[in-house]
Every structure is written in C-alpha cells, then in structure tokens.
C-alpha cells in the first residue's frame, strides 16, 4: 500500500477508535459514579 494512503488511514482510524474508546470508558465511569451517588442519597 502507498505510504500516503497508509498514513491517512492510520491517522483517521487511530483517532476515531481512541475517541470511541474514551467515550466507552467515560460512560462506564460516570454510570458507576452515578450509582454510588444515588445509593448515598437513598
């Protein structure tokens, strides 16, 4: 594969995957925190 094509694809897929993974981790962390806070309130 051409180096330019490889570089463009690598940049796009790495950043998109990193953002999606960060959303998944952040979502899991905030729902855990929310559960704790709701338990404390009850």
């Amino acid at each position: 594969m051409n180096g330019y094509v490889l570089a463009a694809n690598a940049a796009v897929w790495i950043f998109l995957a990193a953002y999606a993974a960060s959303l998944a981790l952040r979502g899991r962390a905030i729902s855990k925190r929310l559960k704790q806070l709701e338990m404390l309130r009850d």
Partner: protein, 219 residues
C-alpha cells in the same frame, strides 16, 4: 435503538465501506491508489458539517428554551465536529502532498476549513471554562450560532472562488464513475452511523454528568 447496537452496526458498516474502497471501487487513472483517501476524507468533512449544524440548531434552541439538554447536545456535536473536521484536514493534507506535492496551500476551501476548526476548538475551550453554569451555557450558545456563519462559506468556497480543491458535489457526477459514487455513498452512510452512535454516547455522558452534579449539590 440502543447505542451499543448502533455502535456494532456502525463498525459493520465501516467494514463494508472498507470492502467497497479496496475491493469494489476502480483505481482512478491519474492519481492511482492515493485517490482512495477521498472515500474517508469526504464523509469526515460531510459529517463535520452536520455536527456544526446540530451545534447551531441546539444553540438556537438553548437560547429560546434555556434547557440543559440542548446545551449538552451542542457540546457533544461540537466535540465530534472538531474531531471529524480535524481528521478531514489531516487526511486532506496527506492527499494534497501526494497529489499537489505540498502539505498545505492557502486555498479558499482549506483556509476557511482551518478557520472553522479553530473557531469550534475555541468554542470547546469556552465550554470547558470555569464561567459558571447558566452563563457559560448562554455564552456558548451565542458562539454556537455565530460560529455557524463560517460553515456555508466553507461549503461554497470551492465554487465561489478559484480553488484547487475539487467541488465534487457541484459538478454533475463530479467526474466519478458509478462504482466510485456507490463507494462514496456507502462510506457516507457508514460514517453517519458511527457519527450518530458517538453523538448519542457523548450526549448520554453529558446527561449523566449533569445528574451527578445535581446529586452532589443536593447533598
């Protein structure tokens, strides 16, 4: 549709899109394999425009109704728009190096896109500032409306001014063969699904963060 299901569907659609790029679309005669960057570059640019349009609509709604949901939606869409337009700039720059032998040129389309990226990056910095809840939301909403002025300028720049950037959607067929158009459309849909999944996930996180803040304050 649950976000997880949408995420799986978008991964499958992106995989199909890759098959269209590498197994279905013919090789372009003058640029060769480098032209295949177009199939990821164009959907990224397209969905970044849609993101900024969502920022605009949500900002207008926030200024009229002052509801937290539209503020959170505007922030989620801006984040995605900055990511996608940034990746469109990077992939376009790499393509430009291969096609025009330069990484960057101050062409109208490229320049207005870079300005748009900086404006929305500034918008995200403003949203992260410690200005205080409702005031920050209103100031962000005003910027969300004003910033959108640059988006049609980016879209039409290649048609209004003399630009080295091709205006694919402006010309009939855009000089693309039918197989190339199919590949463009499949990838537009695939990136659209991924965009929607990430937007909904980011929106849900924003909602949960707001709820957590409210619970902390009520203690």
């Amino acid at each position: 549709m649950p976000i997880r299901l949408l995420a799986f569907a978008s991964v499958a659609a992106l995989a199909v899109g890759q098959w269209f790029i590498w197994g279905y679309a013919p090789l372009e005669e003058s640029m060769g394999v480098v032209q295949k960057i177009f199939y990821i570059h164009m959907p990224l640019a397209w969905w970044s425009f849609v993101s900024f349009f969502v920022v605009f609509l949500a900002s207008v709604r926030h200024l009229m109704k002052r509801d937290a949901g539209s503020d959170i939606l505007a922030g989620a869409a801006a984040e995605l728009g900055v990511l996608m337009s940034g990746l469109a700039l990077v992939s376009g720059s790499i393509w430009g190096r291969a096609a025009w032998n330069v990484w960057w040129t101050w062409d109208p389309r490229l320049t207005t896109t870079l300005i748009m990226w900086f404006v929305y990056a500034g918008y995200l910095v403003l949203r992260g500032s410690n200005m205080g809840g409702e005031r920050r939301a209103v100031v962000s909403a005003v910027l969300g409306v004003v910033a959108f002025l640059d988006v049609p300028l980016v879209f039409y720049s290649a048609r209004i001014w003399r630009s080295v950037h091709p205006a694919v959607l402006a010309s009939k067929g855009g000089g693309l063969e039918p197989e190339m158009w199919h590949t463009v459309l499949v990838n537009l849909v695939a990136f659209g699904l991924a965009w929607l999944a990430m937007l909904l996930a980011r929106y849900r996180i924003g909602r949960a963060e707001e709820r957590a803040r409210a619970l902390l304050l009520s203690r």
